[in-house]
């Protein structure tokens, strides 16, 4: 799901707090694709009831994709994207979820 624009050079932190009732571990992946260059990506594995954060710098024009891969459609949690100290997006999610930002 397209979620908006992020300023180039911003430090981005993505946090996921998994529901304690989740059936299995969730993967949090954050990737930054740069125009004319290689992508960077970071990840964390989040056990049910646990939380994790992933940070990277959106240092070039391109795409920033956040992907939460959960064990079952009923698994979920709270996903939050911060950029430059402010909250860009924060929502409760259920099932596999992907958010996409344009880095401009």
């Amino acid at each position: 799901m397209y979620m908006g624009a992020i300023d180039r050079g911003s430090a981005v932190t993505v946090s996921f707090a998994a529901d304690s009732a989740n059936e299995g571990a969730a993967h949090l992946l954050v990737g930054h694709g740069r125009t004319g260059g290689e992508a960077a990506a970071e990840s964390a594995t989040v056990a049910p009831g646990a939380a994790a954060s992933v940070s990277l710098t959106a240092d070039d024009k391109g795409i920033l994709r956040v992907y939460v891969d959960v064990a079952t459609e009923a698994d979920g949690g709270m996903l939050e994207v911060k950029s430059g100290g402010g909250v860009l997006t924060a929502r409760a999610i259920e099932g596999d979820t992907t958010w996409v930002y344009a880095v401009v």
């Binding site: 799901m1 397209y2 979620m3 908006g4 624009a5 009732a21 989740n22 059936e23 299995g24 571990a25 993967h27 992946l29 990737g31 930054h32 694709g33 740069r34 125009t35 004319g36 290689e38 992508a39 960077a40 990506a41 970071e42 990840s43 964390a44 594995t45 989040v46 056990a47 049910p48 009831g49 646990a50 024009k61 391109g62 795409i63 994709r65 992907y67 891969d69 064990a71 079952t72 459609e73 009923a74 860009l88 099932g95 596999d96 979820t97 992907t98 996409v100 930002y101 344009a102 401009v104």
Partner: protein
């Protein structure tokens, strides 16, 4: 020529503009005007997200990439989940009926991963007490609390806890005192294991980077196409369309576009994540609670009758292979405290009780061949009463479990004391487990 944009098969949508549309020799003012038009178009389609004037066409291009590719990240649709047979939601790593700590124990160090619905075992036991038969029945309380038609709840709660009762069937009351000579109750509670990075996750991240790199290339191409398009709205509609004709696309966007579909890359990513999750879930951590009433030596040691309660923590870790049905190896351990009150004396005692074992497993469809070997110990209590208290020992245990059908297996277990006054045992267990409905 009709181009398939996304019918959901193996080689599908991503879009690459063939003709590298000259991006163009547009004057700055024209470029700015086009970015503004793109930003306006994006705001109309996504009123709730932030859109900046700067880079408006690139933002619209990223929006198009998301529209074309998001679904490849989200394949566990409700329909797909509904299509999964209930039986496939059943955990494949649960143990057998819990006879841990009794003469009927077959596993070197028992797991605390519960049975999905329930099951049982009948064990033929050879020990210093002679030959005995012990039967165990296990029930998962989730079968009373969860509607089996609720697939997610079934998958979740069937992995939480179970309760086992066992007793000898070849002589419940040998001393004719009107009481059962020996029985035990076991409760296993599976709590969530810790998760952390792994080699398998590194591979998934590498694939993710490749996917993102390609998506960014597509966004660049989309930006060029939109920037040069005669009409932003028409071109955006055409690029978002589920199925388009190349001619129409060229007419709407002013440039030839060819579809270059790599859904396989997304499939690879999802498979890598699934394997990495299996590795994360191959760990368990839980409670191992045991109550024994009566004589656990089955009459071999005078004065050993009593009531004991063991509370402990158990953990396990399997090292899974990159193949979904590949062999795996792992470690199991447990550590707890036993409290014992003997019946014939006023002796009470606390002891440390634990074990550590290596396990190897080979999946066969839903069944597995399991081999394990390790050590169990118990230390604590006064000297001179070791036999009656069944303490101060170190014992080697090994077991082999071979599946017979989806729901039945035969286990062979041996134990040999390395130190201490405890009987060696040989057990042969016939195990069965209840299966969730196939449909």
């Amino acid at each position: 020529m009709t181009l398939g944009w996304g019918s959901g098969h193996n080689c599908l949508p991503l879009v690459t503009a063939l003709s590298v549309v000259p991006l163009l020799g547009l004057p700055l003012s024209a470029q700015t005007a086009r970015d503004s038009a793109c930003a306006k178009e994006l705001r109309a389609r996504q009123p709730d997200v932030s859109v900046t004037e700067r880079g408006g066409c690139f933002q619209l291009a990223v929006f198009l990439v998301a529209g074309r590719t998001d679904r490849f990240y989200q394949v566990k649709t409700e329909e797909a989940v509904e299509a999964i047979p209930l039986r496939d939601l059943q955990s494949t790593v649960s143990g057998d009926a819990a006879t841990s700590g009794s003469p009927a124990q077959s596993e070197a160090v028992p797991t605390v991963q519960p049975m999905a619905l329930g099951g049982g075992s009948v064990a033929a036991v050879g020990s210093d007490a002679g030959a005995n038969a012990i039967t165990a029945l296990t029930l998962n309380p989730s079968i009373f609390l969860v509607d089996p038609r609720s697939r997610e709840a079934t998958a979740r709660y069937s992995r939480l806890t179970d309760l086992t009762v066992f007793f000898p069937v070849d002589g419940l009351d040998r001393d004719d005192d009107g009481k059962v000579d020996y029985f035990g109750v076991r409760v296993r509670v599976n709590m969530t294991g810790l998760s952390q990075g792994s080699r398998l996750m590194d591979e998934a991240v590498r694939l993710f980077r490749g996917v993102i790199t390609r998506e960014t290339q597509h966004a660049e191409v989309f930006e060029r196409v939109i920037t040069a398009a005669p009409d932003v709205t028409e071109c955006t509609d055409a690029l978002l369309g589920a199925s388009v004709e190349a001619e129409r696309l060229e007419r709407a966007c002013g440039s030839a576009v060819e579809i270059d579909i790599r859904e396989g890359e997304y499939e690879q990513l999802r498979e890598a994540l699934a394997v990495a999750r299996e590795e994360a879930d191959a760990r368990y951590f839980g409670l191992d609670l045991r109550l024994d009433v009566g004589d656990p030596t089955l009459g071999a040691v005078a004065g050993a009758s009593g009531t004991s309660l063991v509370g402990g923590l158990a953990f396990g870790k399997r090292f899974v292979s990159a193949e979904a049905v590949g062999p795996s190896a792992g470690l199991r351990g447990r550590l707890g405290v036993r409290y014992l009150a003997l019946d014939d004396t006023s002796v009470t005692q606390f002891a440390v009780d634990g074990g550590l074992a290596f396990e190897a497993s080979r999946p066969l469809e839903r069944e597995r061949v399991d081999l394990s070997a390790g050590f169990e110990f118990r230390f604590g209590g006064p000297d001179g009463l070791e036999e009656a208290l069944q303490t101060n020992f170190l014992v080697f245990r090994a077991s082999l479990s071979v599946p017979m059908t989806d729901a039945t297996s035969v286990s062979l277990g041996v134990s040999a004391p390395i130190m201490g006054e405890i009987s060696p045992t040989l057990t042969i267990n016939a195990n069965w487990g209840l299966l969730l409905p196939a449909r």
